[in-house]
Symmetry: C2
Subunit: 348 residues, 2 copies
């Protein structure tokens, strides 16, 4: 005896079958209508079905489609940060916007999550999200980052890493970065050409590969110059107040630098405002620069000399790489480096 579906059960979701029964059409025809495959459906059937869909308020189940077709149409993005406010940095926000928009226009969705470094593997994204591929921006030591990457690859999904340079020989991973080293070099050369001798690089305590690369560029620019020295100041966090506190402590018993190189725009501006509060003239007595300049670099007086980041484009590019990889089975580029540009402001 054929089991009859109890269609009167309350609160049951309306399914393709309900539409099929209501219209005396097969489930497949309904499916074809829903998916706009009008080639396989007669006009009469389509109209009948569309009417029933409207009448019964049918909403397709994305999950069922995913399960059956073994595709998630969804990408996960993990943002590692020590602070809970993982979207505080405009760089991250632009990156995510670029990624999200590219995916959206290709009918993919983006699931995001911020995680603290110590609880990376517990991220609910991994257990509950259902993704076709993963993106991440990681901090920490190379060993730590490598472990986390291997964890992601253990999920049998392609991985795109931002702002990283891990040397991993696997076809499932790609990296998208901006040329931080060049940026660090440019901005340092600039202040040196303006006469700075004693430089101070202000950086967050946390190890971000991007910051290390900036610093590398800074050192390279100094290497050839006679009489130019570099101090490095680590700030516990990269907030306005913490940066100023750290700088105050440093200036208490160090010679005043000629130029302060901020690891980010926010740190640069915090430093600049502190110097001004101490009655130093910027850039007359102390030059100050930022990094990853967005609108905020215009907020200060003088405006901040900084390095402009292609963050939005990096997000877009990552989306493109991922979708191509899902289609073709291979990454068209494994290691992309996008150019940055120098922005002259009034602060250096």
């Amino acid at each position: 005896m054929v089991k009859k579906r109890v269609s009167s059960r309350r609160n049951r979701r309306v399914t393709l079958r309900d539409i099929a029964e209501a219209t005396n059409v097969s489930v497949m025809s309904v499916s074809n209508v829903v998916n706009g495959k009008s080639q396989f459906v007669s006009r009469a059937t389509r109209l009948k079905v569309e009417a029933a869909i409207k009448k019964l308020k049918y909403v397709p189940s994305a999950t069922s489609r995913k399960l059956r077709s073994s595709q998630e149409f969804s990408i996960g993005m993990i943002i590692m940060d020590e602070a809970p406010v993982f979207l505080a940095d405009p760089f991250i926000c632009l990156l995510v916007a670029g990624l999200s928009n590219h995916l959206s226009s290709n009918n993919y969705s983006l699931t995001i999550q911020g995680v603290r470094p110590e609880s990376f593997k517990q991220a609910s994204l991994f257990s509950v999200a259902g993704t076709d591929a993963l993106c991440a921006i990681l901090c920490g030591s190379e060993a730590d980052r490598r472990k986390n990457v291997e964890f992601m690859m253990g999920r049998h999904q392609p991985v795109v890493l931002f702002q990283d340079k891990l040397n991993i020989k696997a076809s499932g991973i790609a990296m998208v970065s901006q040329d931080d080293e060049k940026g660090g070099h440019s901005i340092t050369s600039h202040v040196i050409s303006r006469g700075a001798k004693r430089l101070l690089f202000v950086r967050p305590l946390v190890q971000w590969p991007a910051i290390e690369k900036r610093l590398k560029g800074v050192k390279k620019a100094i290497a050839r110059k006679k009489g130019v020295t570099l101090d490095i100041l680590k700030c516990e966090e990269s907030t306005f107040e913490k940066t100023q506190e750290a700088l105050a402590e440093y200036l208490a018993d160090a010679e005043v630098p000629d130029a302060i190189l901020g690891g980010t725009d926010a740190m640069g501006i915090a430093a600049m405002r502190y110097c001004q509060d101490q009655d130093f003239d910027v850039p007359g007595e102390i030059m100050v620069t930022g990094f990853n300049g967005f609108s905020a670099s215009n907020f200060s007086t003088p405006s901040l000399t900084t390095i402009i980041s292609p963050a939005y484009e990096m997000g877009q590019l990552a989306g493109q790489l991922i979708l191509d990889r899902l289609r073709t089975g291979r990454f068209s580029a494994r290691n992309t480096l996008l150019p940055v540009s120098f922005k002259q402001g009034g602060s250096a």
Copy 2:
């Protein structure tokens, strides 16, 4: 004859059944191990299964679980914006971070998407994401917003709206806002108490309900005061340059205002810097204020007098409301208004 699963098929994903076969245990026991229900599994079985899981590199399928359990463990968030960079405003970023973190700690994931007003209904989030509930922050006329909300509710999911005040009598919707009217009132009263007579409110062209409420507060504060006037300047976009352009045009043939009230911090700072470039003293000749103050309000000289927004808390609260609603079937609050606070800076 029992159909035997062809386990040699290449590239097939490893499933619970594979683990069950490999360990001579039932599928359910494997499931119970995977879900940590150790109450139902003997130690010996558990160990066997765990070993096989590691060996075969089993990764659970979130989607299958979702389909079977009729829960998505996922919330969607739609951010309506005319600009593609939908995460440009720190208010949105903090809101999203608060929401995401709350959901994550309850093992829910967050899917986000920015949409332009005219393509709201086509958002891929609706068709491909698979969510239990929806959040949104909308702009546009009340009629437009209402249509979009009705569209969301047509998906049979709870909806939480941020910064809105639509009067909708349905149990499936809740609203979470900050007290923008009070904020507008506070900041206006402040500049009036400092002697401002001619006020200029600078706002984006787009209709955000939050901006309308701020303006309402501004007008309320003025209503009782003799000799205080208000002009409203609409900027095409709320970017730095567009704000300054609009202001330049306004000042070309209007009397100089005593106070400029920025609709957001970014607009306030743009206005302030323009005034300073025109050699006006801030706050001596012109006072300037912002709204939704975050770290950027410290970036300017002088720092910006502004209204501090509980954006992160709003996100958290929305997460809490949603999860409660999914558990209990009803919203514990339908219309929440979070307090804002006044922040004294140097600009007014």
